[in-house]
Symmetry: C2
Subunit: 268 residues, 2 copies
């Protein structure tokens, strides 16, 4: 089993109650990645459900999660032929850390879209930038292989683009092809889009909702991050995830807080 | 008090438990509008909270709501200086009808955006189309004043545009200026965007998440509805709400089921 598989596995303790072991290797310093935290929660929901896929997940990040033991509690709210709804909580020390509502359904891997928007432009992967691992383990950054669109990385050198945007190719560094749980990781894997409007520092996610729209093909995922408004300390970040077969497989929006020490950036 | 005010009012019964009376006048035939159903639920959450605004709301529509008595149950999940999180349920006959998670915060009405995207194009209101009330009360359509962008109404005459889109100016027909609760109505007020990709019939919302981004100015709201994918019986609908002062005040995405009798429409 891959490290991601182990790090997101859940073991059923009793009806609606699961054990997980959070892996500090999926964090940035002290803070575990929000996308990573959704994965065990989704595994438990899918285990309870008669449907195969988490088609809609809304998550609220209540407290900082710590590496180590956790539980996942699943409460069924509606069971239907097309969809089922669950309230799911990731808890540590009997306190909720992440609250989520998960809608499950079963997506047909062979479905042909009745309509699809256009895939946004992205430079070829060879024109993108990797930040290779050094001697020290960097946590999350060393679990995933991310190739950034250089046009959205100006913030690194003090030259933010002035627009909330972030784009990259993405896969796990190990042998784990894209699935629902890797998509949960993908929708929260980009550097915050507000780094390109002059914000800096940690930008904590308050609420994140994502939809799984199709079963992803093996290979690279492409992540397109954007935003619409930075106002009063809050910003939105939208991420579209496209698979290697050129299909839109996931959509997300999160509401987050801007980091301290904001500078005002020009209006688009 | 306006009819909308009365129709969404909640009366506190005890800590975390409120009484509401759902008004059939906010429905289409038998089904009450989903945006309308969120309003009493948000009033109860804001009443419990020390913060003034529902900055993020995710709602799952579990069962069809009926006009008449309902209760709203509010459970506090986190109380913070910047934001608080509540699980809120609208129930009838002791069964959950709508499950929601509501994040509250307090938005500064005088905040100047650090960055804002562009307002999408929209024809002037005089060039838009109203569908005036007849003798028979049409429910929701008679509670609101909606002026449709004629470019997105071709589906009415069997000439859908081929893209998921729907745009309109919007206000309540009575003296109730935009506030958080009217925004909840606004994000679910447009004809489903898939009517323009050849779908027809009722398109039930499964999950809807919306963010309140600013305190709206008095006057007309403008609703911009779009979508990215119609696949396997599911579609997404995004709505941006802009106020009369030209500011983005709300964003939403819903995942819904396409109506029966779909016809395939060309790819964009």
């Amino acid at each position: 089993m891959s490290r991601f598989g182990r790090a997101t596995a859940v073991r059923r303790l009793e009806e609606g109650r699961y054990q997980a072991e959070l892996d500090g290797g999926f964090g940035f310093d002290e803070a575990l990645n929000g996308g990573y935290l959704m994965a065990p929660l989704l595994r438990a929901a899918v285990d309870v459900s008669s449907h195969a896929h988490p088609v809609a997940t809304s998550a609220n990040f209540l407290r900082v999660a710590r590496p180590g033991p956790a539980e996942v509690w699943v409460e069924s709210r509606k069971t239907g032929r097309t969809a089922a709804v669950f309230r799911v909580t990731l808890a540590q020390d009997d306190r909720p850390v992440v609250d989520a509502t998960v809608t499950t359904g079963t997506l047909d891997p062979d479905a042909t879209p009745a309509w699809s928007g256009e895939r946004p432009p992205m430079p070829p992967i060879d024109a993108c930038v990797a930040f290779d691992a050094g001697e020290r383990d960097r946590g999350f950054a060393d679990r995933v292989d991310t190739r950034f669109d250089p046009a959205t990385m100006g913030w690194l050198d003090g030259r933010p683009t002035g627009r909330p945007e972030s784009r990259a190719y993405f896969r796990l560094r190990e042998d784990h092809e894209p699935d629902a749980f890797a998509l949960a990781l993908a929708v929260d894997a980009l550097p915050p889009v507000v780094l390109n409007t002059g914000s800096s520092g940690w930008a904590p996610t308050v609420e994140l909702t994502w939809q799984m729209r199709a079963v992803p093909a093996p290979g690279w995922l492409t992540l397109y991050g954007s935003g619409r408004l930075v106002n009063d300390g809050w910003f939105d970040e939208e991420v579209e995830v496209w698979d290697s077969a050129g299909r839109l497989v996931a959509q997300s929006r999160q509401l987050a807080r801007t980091g301290r020490g904001d500078r005002k950036a020009p209006r688009d």
